[in-house]
């Protein structure tokens, strides 16, 4: 009787190869290794726990169906991350179609005026541990509009280039640059307000 592969100790490329030929247990092991990472990416974009869970589950299903398209150009988690990011962008587009996004439209309209405002200066290390800063930035990210948060997540966390972000978001590179600038400026401003409120800066 052939010996069952040791999934938990197997290296990622082996697991992927096994999963490609239909080994569900190998795929289950991949899910257990990267489920949090995929969920975090979905949550960063959507800021909604239930949606993030659903979208990350859908991403795993899509990954299973498209395993034969994975040739190892990027790492397996990076490939997965791209899948969940695309699903999140589709979901945002669907949401946008379903409602009048008046707040964002207003923000877009006032973009050039906002851009003329002074950028806040924040000293991120002043009185804050890295962990505290992470939490504060996370809270500030939640206050950004979908468009601005998405561009920040794609650039900073997904580490895509301007061109790649423009392609994914169906927009121009100029718009990506503008949104990224506005998002950073808004984050700095929100963070400064938080730090001031907590008495951590004057």
């Amino acid at each position: 009787m052939p010996e069952e592969p040791a999934y938990s100790s197997a290296e990622e490329p082996r697991l992927v190869e096994w999963a490609k030929v239909g080994d569900m247990q190998a795929f289950e092991e991949l899910v257990s290794r990267y489920r949090d990472r995929i969920y975090v990416r979905a949550y960063s974009i959507m800021r909604n726990e239930d949606l993030a869970v659903d979208l990350s589950q859908n991403a795993w299903v899509k990954a299973w169906q498209r395993l034969d398209q994975f040739h190892g150009e990027a790492s397996f988690p990076t490939w997965l991350s791209r899948i969940v990011t695309n699903l999140c962008l589709d979901e945002l587009r669907r949401q946008k179609r379903a409602r009048m996004d008046s707040i964002e439209a207003m923000e877009e309209a006032t973009g050039p005026i906002e851009n003329r405002l002074e950028m806040e200066t924040v000293d991120p290390v002043e009185g804050l541990s890295r962990e505290e800063l992470r939490e504060r930035i996370d809270a500030a990210l939640a206050k950004l509009s979908d468009k601005h948060r998405t561009v920040i997540v794609l650039y900073e966390f997904e580490q895509l280039e301007y061109r790649e972000i423009a392609e994914k978001m169906d927009t121009s590179i100029g718009t990506v640059m503008s949104r990224l600038f506005y998002a950073r400026k808004r984050l700095a401003s929100l963070l400064k307000e938080t730090l001031k409120r907590d008495g951590l800066i004057e």
């Binding site: 899910v31 975090v40 869970v53 795993w60 169906q65 950028m119 992470r134 930035i137 996370d138 984050l187």
Partner: protein
């Protein structure tokens, strides 16, 4: 270059998206321009904030449950894919293609027959026409013109010319 463009260019420089001579020119300008140097410093600080700050999170579901959901969805999708890939039985083919085509053909035939049917007087009332009626005692003829929205009616009545009847008419 206006203020907005300069800000975006400096950001692109910091993000490594501006290269070659354009990047060199901008660096040289930043060196010599206090305002640009300050903007560059501010952008660097803001950009530094985000470095590695994605908050780690744990999936808010038990791992086994999460996997069972995924496995069920995969199974469902596989079943659906197989169902769609199955060859269509002859009866289904008949229902899917022949029946709608036959229905469409019947409809076309019906419309053709209606168009070639003899004109209905009611339908033609919109155009100029005459209509003649006859009665034992009164002959009626009408002329109807739709364009002028007018109808003319001729009554051909055989008058009894007996003196008493004539007298009655004259009265």
């Amino acid at each position: 270059m206006n203020e907005n463009e300069i800000q975006l260019k400096i950001q692109a420089l910091l993000d490594g998206e501006l290269t070659g001579s354009e990047a060199e020119d901008l660096r040289a300008r930043i060196e010599t321009d206090d305002r640009l140097r300050e903007l560059h410093a501010r952008l660097t600080a803001v950009r530094g904030l985000m470095d590695g700050t994605e908050l780690p999170r744990t999936l808010p579901l038990p791992g086994d449950f999460h996997w069972s959901q995924i496995a069920q969805a995969i199974e469902r999708e596989d079943r659906e894919t197989k169902r769609l890939a199955r060859p269509v039985p002859r009866a289904n083919w008949l229902l899917r293609w022949v029946m709608p085509l036959a229905g469409a053909a019947c409809l076309v035939l019906l419309l053709t027959l209606q168009l070639n049917a003899p004109p209905d007087l009611g339908i033609l009332l919109s155009s100029d026409h005459e209509l003649e009626l006859s009665d034992d005692e009164i002959d009626v003829m009408t002329y109807n013109t739709g364009d002028d929205a007018m109808s003319i009616v001729w009554l051909d009545y055989a008058i009894d010319l007996r003196p008493d009847t004539l007298q009655l008419w004259l009265d």
